[in-house]
Every structure is written in structure tokens, then in C-alpha cells.
């Protein structure tokens, strides 16, 4: 059997068996609705509230009811953007998002832009970070909300959230961060970061898909998005996913417990990957190479002279799962908006490769990728009618 190497942990992670075990009783014998008054319901409610307290403790929330369980990162982002902007019936104002947010933030921001709000997109610097000075310059008297992601999902750069939140508060606005890629991977402390709201996803931390959390600082007004039975302190109606939320809390605790050993392990694997890939593949570049801080598990490369989807399919045939920011892989006209926002030329963005590592990644997986990538790149470059021209241009810019 040929080796398979899953190197797309930023896309999703397998559910840890310990998480599955914690969840299982809540599908069957403890199936009660957490809102029912009888014993079966109370048992579910206790387990749900216990999960809420565990999440609150992990991120240093002031109170458990600052934790709102959702169906995932996308719902948390949509709720935060639209719910905070339109809180109290507000129908106009200014919001600021970074240009390289996930589409779960960009799309609701654009929706607000069509429904009475003005939207400013902050361009990150080529080092892959949003600078507080740029944010300060973009803030206006009528700015109501700023949303900047904590760790970028494609290039792995970490944003100076504490500084950005402080600048935002000085300007009298609320600050939200999408922390789907950072929760559990690096320290995440809402009090230290000073954010008003933060979005998290269960399936990025070895928890189940369809689970997520919105942290909302106590006293922050939010217009409700899902209306009905008034669950989650009337902020998110719908019968709670008790098993899933227990899975989320368990997964997060495992991340916290293992991080002291796991973060340096992944950082070392990533650094080895970067140095060997750049050494092995001619003209390859690390995107946002100048980033002051990056996540331990994500590296994004440009491989000039190849198209990303073709590279991905050949690697898949070799048993390797990775991602690309090429337009063809997304079915859209343009390649990755993240790479374009940090100044990556369009033709190179078509040939990007994202490698993301996780709990089950070993040195052998890195060897497998490096060993398989070189012949794939060589083959695709040999089929590229413009490759010599590309090389000449690269040589020109490097002189």
C-alpha cells in the first residue's frame, strides 16, 4: 500500500478518538434536550453548561455566558459581523475589515455594504500583517465595527490583535477577530487580547464539523440572527448540539494540554519543510516570508511556472493532500485574494501551494511531500510553453 500523507490540516482535521469517546453517550443514552425540565434534560443541560465553562476557562472569558455555541466558524463570523453592526436597530455606519479575511467575514461585510453600511478593506502589508497605524488612519467617527482575523488561514501570519483592538477601542468601535485557525494552536486569551467578539471552529481543532463558538464580551449588544426558542441566552436559538459542544470543549482542552509539546514540534517540522522545499524546488518562494509571527502549522509557497490545481492533482495521485490558491481550484475567476492582497503577482498566485501540518504529521510525511513534489514540478514546467520566459523574468528580478 502506498503511503498517504494528509497535509491539509488548515482545511479540516480528523476528530480525535478521545473527543469521539466524550461525545458518544450524548447521542444515545443521554440524548435529552438541554431545555427540558425533567432529569434527562437536566443531565444534558449540566453537560452543556460544563462544556461552556470549559471553553470559557480556556480562552479566559470573564463569564461562561460569554460563550455562544454555534454551528461553526462561518455562523460565528456572520453573526458577529451582521449582529454587531446592526445591534440596536442600527442601519448605517462604517465598518472595517482586512482585505485577506476569510469569505465568512468578507461576504457579510459586503452584504452590509449593500444594506446601508460603508465598508473599508484594509490592505495587509507584504509581510502578511495588518498594521495598527493603517487601522488608526482608516477609523472614522462613524466606525462601529472592525474585524481582523487572528491567524491567516492561507499564509499563517499572525496579526497584532491586542494592538489592533486597542486602536479600535480608542476610536470608539467594537473589535471582532476570526480566530478559527489560531484557537488551540497558539495562546488565545480574550482578556489579554482585549477583543469584544471572536469566532472559533470545532473541526480545526480535532473536534466535530458543524460545531463552533462565538465569544461575545458581556454587555455587548448583538442583534439576533437565528430566532426561535431563545436558547444561548436568547442570542442563538435552536436546540443545542450537546454532543457536538462537548466535543468542542474536549477538543479544546486537548489542544491546550498538548500545546507545550505540540507547538514546538510542528514549528520544527514546518521549518524543515520550508528549508527543504526551497532548497529542492528551483525558484520556489515562501509567501509572507518576512512575517514577524506565524502559526506553527501553515506554510504557503509560490512555485513559479506551474499551475496549482495540476500540481495538487499530481500530488493527490502520489497520495498527498495539500491545497492551492489557484483560480482553477476554486472555480472562480481570480486566484487567492489572500495572496493578491499581500502583493503576490497574479501569475504566481495561480501556482501557490499551501501545506498545513497537524497532530498526526511526521517527518516521513514531509519526506514524502518533498520527494514527490520535485518530479511533479519538473514535469509541469516541461509542459509549460512559457517556462523559459518565466525563468528569464525571475532571473531579471533577482539580479
Amino acid at each position: 500500500m502506498e503511503r498517504t500523507s494528509y497535509l491539509d490540516y488548515a482545511a479540516t482535521t480528523p476528530v480525535d478518538p478521545r473527543v469521539v469517546e466524550a461525545m458518544l453517550p450524548y447521542f444515545t443514552e443521554r440524548f435529552g434536550n438541554a431545555n427540558s425540565l425533567y432529569a434527562l434534560g437536566r443531565e444534558a443541560a449540566r453537560a452543556l453548561e460544563d462544556a461552556r465553562e470549559r471553553v470559557a476557562r480556556s480562552i479566559d472569558a470573564a463569564r461562561p455566558d460569554e460563550i455562544i455555541f454555534t454551528s461553526g466558524g462561518t455562523e460565528s463570523d456572520n453573526t458577529a459581523l451582521i449582529g454587531l453592526a446592526t445591534a440596536g436597530g442600527r442601519s448605517s455606519g462604517h465598518i472595517i475589515v482586512s482585505a485577506f479575511e476569510h469569505h465568512a467575514v468578507l461576504e457579510p461585510a459586503w452584504w452590509l455594504g449593500k444594506h446601508g453600511f460603508e465598508v473599508t478593506e484594509l490592505t495587509p502589508h507584504p509581510d502578511g500583517t495588518v498594521h495598527p497605524d493603517d487601522l488608526a488612519a482608516a477609523l472614522r467617527d462613524d466606525t462601529v465595527l472592525v474585524s481582523v482575523m487572528h491567524g491567516n488561514n492561507e499564509i499563517g501570519t499572525i496579526q497584532p490583535i491586542a494592538e489592533l483592538a486597542a486602536v479600535t477601542h480608542a476610536g470608539g468601535a467594537l473589535f471582532h477577530t476570526d480566530a478559527a485557525q489560531t484557537l488551540g494552536k497558539i495562546e488565545f486569551d480574550v482578556a489579554a487580547l482585549g477583543v469584544d467578539a471572536a469566532s472559533f471552529s470545532g473541526h480545526k481543532i480535532y473536534g466535530p464539523k458543524g460545531t463552533g463558538v462565538l465569544y461575545l464580551k458581556g454587555g455587548t449588544r448583538l442583534s439576533t440572527y437565528l430566532m426561535g426558542g431563545g436558547q444561548e441566552s436568547k442570542k442563538r436559538s435552536g436546540t443545542q448540539n450537546v454532543a457536538g459542544n462537548i466535543g468542542f470543549a474536549t477538543a479544546l482542552e486537548l489542544m491546550d494540554a498538548e500545546r507545550p509539546a505540540e507547538a514546538p514540534r510542528l514549528t520544527a517540522l514546518r521549518d524543515r519543510l520550508v528549508s527543504e522545499l526551497l532548497g529542492e524546488i528551483e525558484y520556489a518562494q515562501l509567501n509572507a516570508a518576512e512575517a514577524p509571527e506565524r502559526l506553527p502549522h501553515i506554510a504557503n509557497f509560490v512555485i513559479p511556472g506551474v499551475e496549482g490545481e495540476a500540481m495538487l492533482l499530481h500530488l493527490d495521485a502520489a497520495g498527498i493532500a495539500v491545497s492551492t490558491g489557484s483560480a482553477c481550484s476554486s472555480g472562480s475567476l481570480k486566484p487567492s485574494h489572500v495572496l493578491l492582497s499581500i502583493g503576490c503577482p497574479v501569475e504566481f498566485a495561480h501556482g501557490s501551494l499551501r501545506v498545513s501540518l497537524g497532530r498526526f504529521t511526521t517527518d516521513e510525511d514531509i519526506d514524502h511531500l518533498i520527494g514527490s513534489l520535485a518530479p511533479v514540478v519538473e514535469r509541469l514546467r516541461s509542459m509549460n510553453p512559457l517556462y523559459e520566459k518565466t525563468v528569464a523574468e525571475l532571473a531579471g528580478t533577482h539580479e
Binding site: 506551474v306 499551475e307 490545481e309 482553477c328 472555480g331 495561480h350 509542459m383 509549460n384 510553453p385
Partner: protein
């Protein structure tokens, strides 16, 4: 989006890859900014495609459509070759995902350009000019996708 087995076959084992050194006609279409570029070279014998090679920078569908077009065109008369349509290319591959239909235009346009290049070099009238989508400055290879994803 899932590729047919035939697309994966032509992507993984593309036919007629390369450049004919003493080509009678050359066609090059596409743009690296759009993510796909194709170059096709042909040898012409008695107004038929005697030999053909391609090079393509592009996604799986771009490479597969290029490959199959060279197979389809080999042995055809020049008139038959320029009449190959994008739908025929897609059909020959057992279908293409909707978002990839434009890739077959790259392949048919490349072939048309190579045929016209040959004819012009012989002092003859080009026969494909006017039917080459990539010659239109307003050509949008993704137009059909916009239609499908039309905004609500």
C-alpha cells in the same frame, strides 16, 4: 467538482506533449495572468494534420482538453480540424465540470491558430480567423460560469 476518468487519464498521461522542431504552423493562446496558456505545433501533409504536439500551462482540465484535441485533430483535414467545437472536446472527454468548460476553448482556439498560421505562411487565406474566441479583446473565458452563478 469531479473529473471523469477520461479527463484524469489525459491529465495524468497526456498525449502528444512537446514542440515539433520543424513545425509548419504554431498557435499560442492564453495568458499566464488568467492561469492558462497553450502552445500547439503542427506538421501539415497534403492539407491534413500529419503530426501535432502541445504544451500547456494550466489546470487538469486545460491539460486534458489540450491532449484530447491533439488526438482528435491528428489525421483530420485542416477544414475539419478548425471545425472542432468545445462541446465536441468536452463530449470526447466524457464531460467536463461546468466551471471547466472554458478550458476546451483554449484547446480549440490553439488548434485554429496553428492552422491559420500555416495557411498564412503558405500565402493562403486563413480559415479560422473570426471564430477564435481568444482574438476577441472582450473574450471572457469564464462568461458561462458567471451565468451559472448569477447573482440573486
Amino acid at each position: 467538482m469531479i473529473y471523469s476518468d477520461k479527463v484524469m487519464d489525459h491529465f495524468g498521461n497526456p498525449r502528444n506533449v512537446g514542440v515539433l522542431e520543424d513545425a509548419d504552423g504554431t498557435g499560442e493562446v492564453g495568458n499566464p495572468v488568467c492561469g492558462d496558456v497553450m502552445k500547439i505545433t503542427i506538421k501539415v501533409d497534403d492539407d491534413r494534420i500529419g503530426d501535432i504536439r502541445f504544451q500547456t500551462l494550466g489546470c487538469g482540465a486545460a491539460i486534458a482538453t489540450s491532449s484530447i484535441v491533439t488526438e482528435m485533430a491528428k489525421g483530420m483535414t485542416l477544414a475539419e480540424a478548425v471545425a472542432i467545437t468545445k462541446s465536441q472536446v468536452a463530449e470526447e472527454l466524457g464531460g467536463l465540470p461546468p466551471a471547466k468548460m472554458h478550458c476546451s476553448v483554449l484547446a480549440t482556439d490553439g488548434l485554429k491558430k496553428a492552422v491559420d498560421d500555416y495557411l498564412v505562411s503558405q500565402g493562403r487565406e486563413p480559415i479560422a480567423v473570426g471564430t477564435i474566441a481568444h482574438d476577441d479583446p472582450d473574450f471572457d473565458p469564464h462568461a458561462e460560469e458567471h451565468d451559472e452563478a448569477c447573482e440573486v
